[in-house]
């Protein structure tokens, strides 16, 4: 008897939570993410994430059939 294997995880829809602690930035989540960064690294990561999110939304908009959205 066999069972279907679960699929690879889909993209996270929950946001990670960043907090400051003892002069560094902790990023918890999404999923199993648990990272500590310096303030400079966190800022740079944040900017990179915002830019990547903008491009991802453009990519999705480019895929939509014309006349929708």
């Amino acid at each position: 008897m066999t069972h279907e294997l679960s699929s690879p995880p889909p993209p996270e829809t929950e946001a990670g939570v960043a907090t400051a602690e003892d002069g560094v930035v902790l990023l918890d989540g999404p999923d199993g993410v648990a990272v500590t960064m310096t303030a400079a690294a966190a800022r740079s990561t944040g900017e990179s994430l915002v830019e990547a999110a903008r491009r991802a939304e453009e990519q999705l908009a480019g895929k939509r059939p014309s006349g929708t959205g």
């Binding site: 602690e21 003892d22 902790l26 918890d28 989540g29 199993g32 993410v33 648990a34 500590t36």
Partner: protein, 249 residues
């Protein structure tokens, strides 16, 4: 006895008196080792294996910058590098985390046991497979759990393993590790672990202080760490040993 904790309370593989006596006789020397000492280096030829009698040991790999990644923790009663018996060369280093007492078993003695005592050989094999199960849980912990979950899972696992070795009452145990050690084990920074420990205390799940762990709410801690002890193969007197795990004569 040196082997008292080896496979203690493990499902269907507790040593019988003759097996324990044979394993004790196989020990060539015992020694005490300071904390943070390397016992076996990756790649070196090994003709003996190490049974951990007291203390905590680890397996680890170094990255190209020399930063250490722990890949396993060993507790009293573990046959730490039994893997080295068939492999002869390990792919990782083995070292002490705390002061430790170790018993050395030459591979020639394991050769003799393999030839003379197939049931004891099966139990040694079981011990190695138990290590593999704990490795799988280690991967799950680092790959799927968040920071709180990782630490919760590690405390739950260590509690069950130490309880099996007779070193935890199920609620309290002396871990003997620092927050920095727990950080390394859980793939976190010390700042992160410090906050997780505070969170676990404030949520009433457990207290980790001065190397000692006190579990306040075992069920909630296990739930938070997605911990299910099935992979540790602990003997449960309430459930009979499956036929395929009963000793063969």
């Amino acid at each position: 006895m040196l082997t008292d904790r080896f496979l203690r309370d493990r499902r269907g593989v507790s040593l019988e008196a003759g097996e324990r006596a044979r394993l004790e006789a196989a020990v060539s020397t015992t020694s005490t080792v300071e904390a943070r000492r390397i016992i076996a280096r990756a790649g070196e030829w090994l003709d003996q294996s190490t049974l951990l009698v007291e203390g905590i040991m680890s397996r680890y790999l170094d990255d190209r910058n020399g930063l250490r990644q722990l890949v396993a923790i060993h507790l009293p009663g573990d046959f730490v590098d039994l893997h080295a018996y068939p492999l002869k060369r390990l792919d990782h280093d083995v070292g002490t985390m705390t002061p430790a007492t170790i018993a050395i078993v030459p591979h020639a003695e394991l050769d003799a046991i393999t030839e003379e005592m197939p049931e004891l050989t099966r139990k040694l094999w079981f011990a190695t497979l138990l290590d593999a199960a704990i490795h799988r849980a280690w991967l799950f912990r680092l790959g799927r759990l968040d920071a709180i979950g990782r630490v919760a899972h590690f405390f739950c696992e260590t509690n069950v393993r130490l309880q099996s070795a007779g070193l935890s009452d199920g609620r309290r145990f002396n871990l003997g590790l620092t927050q920095a050690d727990v950080a390394e084990i859980c793939g976190l920074t010390t700042v992160h672990v410090n906050r997780v420990v505070r969170h676990l205390r404030e949520e009433g799940l457990c207290i980790f202080r001065n190397g000692k762990v006190e579990i306040l709410d075992a069920a909630k801690l296990a739930r938070r760490g997605q911990f299910d002890p099935a992979y540790l193969y602990i003997d449960d007197p309430a459930s009979p040993t499956p036929p395929d795990q009963r000793p063969r004569r």
